[in-house]
């Protein structure tokens, strides 16, 4: 009974965040190309990446920009698929938005995470985001040479790839709900002239 009630609270919270995020994107003049509040599937990921790529081509984005955004979609949404279920309560809903302005294409994601995972994750992200290209590339090569892939299929290169491909246009926000639950939002964008 208690679990159902917490589940409902999470459902309400994610729905509110989804609506408020949509309002912010609209207010800032971005055109929403894709929005979903669900358990993101592999087929969704492929569809979002391919559809965005076609639209970016029509909108005159550079090939480098298109390939970079494709990569960001795959890395961020696969990351969401692997880590986006709040396992303690088996809550598997996430949301994502793809939006565009005249000169940028952007992907935003939202999911719940365990509060105990917040510090290690933000330490890692801050380390990556405070590096320059050469430093981060060196870390990338180091992880690649170690070559470890987890059982879930993650390699530890995803976040670094996101930073490199977006030219460090990656931002994140973590809000702690209580000692058990927090939520994580990512935003990554690629300019048309990358």
């Amino acid at each position: 009974m208690l679990e159902i009630s917490v589940h409902n609270k999470l459902q309400t919270l994610i729905l509110n965040q989804f609506e408020s995020h949509k309002t912010v994107l609209n207010k800032t003049g971005r055109v929403i190309k894709y929005a979903a509040l669900k358990n993101i599937s592999t087929s969704d990921i492929e569809q979002i990446a391919s559809t965005s790529d076609s639209d970016m081509l029509l909108s005159g984005f550079s090939k480098r920009g298109r390939k970079s955004f494709f990569s960001c979609v795959i890395e961020l949404l696969q990351n969401l698929k692997i880590h986006g279920t709040f396992t303690q309560l088996n809550f598997d809903q996430q949301f994502c938005f793809v939006s565009k302005s005249d000169d940028t294409y952007r992907l935003d994601t939202f999911n719940f995470i365990a509060t105990e995972a917040v510090r290690p994750l933000s330490n890692k992200l801050n380390k990556y985001l405070n590096s320059n290209y050469d430093e981060l590339k060196a870390q990338y090569l180091n992880i690649l040479s170690e070559g470890k892939i987890s059982k879930k299929g993650g390699a530890g290169l995803g976040l670094i790839t996101l930073c490199l491909k977006s030219n460090f246009n990656l931002t994140y926000k973590i809000e702690t709900i209580n000692e058990h639950m927090s939520f994580l939002m990512f935003s990554v964008q690629v300019p048309s002239n990358l």
Binding site: E46, Q78, L141, L157, K165
Partner: protein, 126 residues
């Protein structure tokens, strides 16, 4: 050793491992949900492969997109091939569209890290 063919899907490449013809191909996009699981049978196939002394082999990669976890799996595969290639008769070709810096860069990273000799081959964009 039997021939192995894996058909391409929207997220995985076509793979042809033909020991009789001496031709191995990876072509398409590689971003499976779980790259470790996807590439496990391929790595296993190479475990059992013994190149013949009097034969030349060609391993060709023509990939248009590779996810980060696929990069690790392919790197593992290249290290395995490098170990097998004691006679130096497996030539590896890494194709990339001439204006695709990211795929070319992955080939260069592999060369640097695994000391595998890859021939980088720029192809024209269709």
């Amino acid at each position: 050793m039997r021939k192995l063919i894996v058909e391409a899907s929207k997220t995985t490449p076509q793979i042809i491992l033909d020991p009789i013809k001496g031709y191995f191909l990876f072509e398409g996009r590689s971003f499976p949900e779980n790259s470790k699981k996807f590439y496990a049978p391929i790595l296993e196939w190479f475990e059992g492969f013994e190149p013949l002394h009097n034969k030349d082999y060609k391993l060709e990669f023509n990939l248009s997109y590779i996810s980060s976890s696929s990069i690790i799996s392919i790197f593992e595969l290249l290290k395995k091939v490098h170990k097998l290639d004691k006679l130096g008769n497996i030539a590896i070709f890494w194709k990339h569209e001439h204006d695709d810096e990211s795929i070319r860069q992955i080939g260069e990273d592999f060369t640097k890290l695994a000391q595998v000799s890859l021939t980088l081959e720029a192809i024209s964009t269709s």
